[in-house]
Amino acid sequence: MTTSLQRRKELIASELVWYERMLEIREFEKQTNALFAAGSIRGTTHLCNGQEALAVGLASVLNPDDVVSATYRGHGIALALGLTSHSVLAEIMGKATGCAGGLGGSMHLCDRSVGLLPTSAIIGGGMPIAAGAALAFQVQKKSSVAVAVFGDGATNIGAFHESLNLAAVWKLPVVFVCDNNVYGEYSRINVTTPIEDLHLRANSYAMPNLKVDGMDIYLVREALQGAIDRARSGGGPTLIEAKTYRFAGHSRADQALYRPDGELEMWQKRDPIKVTEELLIKKGVLTAAKAKELQEIADKTMVDIVAKTQNDSEPEIGDMFKNIWTSKN
């Protein structure tokens, strides 16, 4: 069985794997959505279609001993970092084989072997924690960095401002990555936020900041690499704003009927998977025929994983009593 760490190393090593992983994420979300629609999965889920380049770009530039705090819209980042589709789908389906043993669900994914801290279902919740992980690295004199990934909506919550300020004043090795997908839950960014370029908020904290086209994995990697290098070498934090777009609604209950006409179609022309495909073909790493073949493989693989996972065992009743405390008290 392929481990998360092996999958991560494969991703770091090969451009073609970036593309395959993006396809995997897209197929994963397609199947997840279908399973929810069919009533096969309980609760809720938040899809990341349109945001694959950021997830995969991030995972490809970080080392496995760096850590990432991410959000409830976290399937893509988890898969990019190396978690298997089986492990994540099993978690979403509440199976014992899931990455949290079926006790977390769609919003709570985790795998220490590749540095994925438990994803938070609270807007901004992971940001102070990433700063704290970075504090540990600083005190321990490690070269690891922490990354906090969050949405545009999080830039209006106190945790964002407090974390940026603390990280800046302590020069922590942390990179703040705002995945600006234009919508905070059900509201368009312009309704809730008086500025468009959210990275500018870091200027208040004398923190280096920049925006990047989040649909282009090469540009994403370049922006992240600079920030990560700065953090690793003691230069302190950076805020990066990746301009992406949420192709789906907020959660499974949301059809996103509030979108202006034509907006989705405009962004779909810059679908990160298409953009990557074109770039890889131009570089000679991929052909159109090979791309089609990989898409078919991704589709079939995911169908097989769904079939397999549905038969996985449920957690034992005693599992809910485990891991409350580390101590035996």
Binding site: C110, P128, A131, A136, G158, I324, W325, T326
Partner: protein, 336 residues
């Protein structure tokens, strides 16, 4: 064995743990250069330097969360929330993040952090700087909650809290900071183990923090024979100790510095009633504060808090008549 003030016992515990374990770091508002508003970090910056002892911005959410993240990466952070009310703006990081990390990671990430805070009334700080608030956190599985009652338990329980692998909330009764007591730095105390400070036959008095001292004075005033149980830890609380004591005395009162409604004392009483109803000679009851914010006026604040006189009156009545005493505000017709 040496005499020290409660606040010095806190300093001593921090110093000894920081010497014993280089992964212990300490931060909070005004704790480094200013050595803490209550002088509970005197000398720490000088001894351990600015890497391990840090002043934070006035950003409880950020530094509480930073403790969570640092703990997950192998440090043992101790943070100071100056007044426990300030936890309100950081509660998410404690109850929604720290308390659930082990569970959501299937045991991969533990959070060995200690959140210290001053708590309680009696010093005229008004309604937003005088609550105990242990009830905010006691109902969140995953946390441990401690309130010491004297310099010895402050020292020994703080060391135990720092050594503990899980997130611990450590509430320090502010009114006790200046109190002196003997401290044996070799004495270990376990989280979750109560201390029976006085033994007797007629009633069990369970108390926490400064209410232990109030209860002790109340017993003396009443001249009754009582078991005085200093719980020390609210989560997990020492069921065996309390059940054994009530089995012996047949009566139970809990003295709490928190509002009547929703207090942890109800949990103690429910457990005793459900487990050994037949050992009871009279109905267990609680002596609490009324369901009002802490009043500023000195006379009112003194009445608001459980007093030795109230404890004395109520335990005498309970023992004499096997009846359930009414709180003073009902007795005196001040409120319902």
């Amino acid at each position: 064995m040496s005499a020290m003030r409660f606040r010095q016992a806190i300093v001593a515990a921090l110093t000894d743990e920081m010497n014993a374990d280089s992964s212990v770091i300490f931060f909070g508002e005004d704790v480094a250069a200013a050595e803490g508003p209550f002088k509970t970090s005197e000398g720490l910056l000088t001894t351990f330097g600015p890497e391990r002892v840090r002043d934070t911005p006035i950003s409880e959410m950020a530094f509480t969360g930073a403790a969570v993240g640092a703990a997950m990466m192998g440090m043992k952070p101790v943070i100071e929330i100056m007044f426990i009310e300030f936890l309100g703006v950081a509660l998410d990081q404690l109850v929604t993040e720290a308390a659930k990390m082990l569970y959501l990671s299937k045991g991969q990430y533990s959070v060995p952090m200690v959140l210290r805070a001053s708590s309680g009334a009696g010093l005229g700080f008004g309604s937003q700087h005088s609550q105990t608030l242990e009830n905010w956190v006691a109902a969140t599985p995953g946390l441990k909650v401690i309130t010491p009652s004297d310099p010895q338990s402050a020292y020994s329980l703080l060391r135990a809290a720092i050594q503990d692998p899980d997130p611990v909330v450590f509430l320090e009764p502010r009114i006790l900071y200046a109190e002196r007591g003997e401290v044996d730095t070799n004495l270990k105390m376990e989280i979750g183990k109560a201390r029976v400070l006085e033994t007797g036959t007629d009633i069990t008095i369970v108390a926490l923090g400064n209410m232990v001292n109030v209860a002790r004075a109340g017993i003396k005033k009443a001249g009754v024979s009582a078991d005085l149980v200093d719980l020390g830890t609210i989560v997990p609380w020492d069921r065996a100790c309390v059940l054994a004591s009530v089995a012996k005395t047949g009566r139970l009162v809990v003295v709490e510095e928190s509002p009547l409604s929703g207090g942890w004392g109800s949990e103690i009483i429910a457990t005793v009633v459900a487990n050994q109803f037949k050992s009871l000679k009279s109905a267990p009851f609680r002596i609490t504060t009324p369901d009002v914010p802490v009043p500023f006026n000195g006379g009112l604040e003194a009445r608001f808090l459980p007093t030795a006189d109230e404890v004395s009156r109520q335990i005498q009545e309970a023992i004499k008549n096997n009846s359930t005493p009414k709180p003073w505000w009902i007795n005196e017709g001040v409120s319902k």
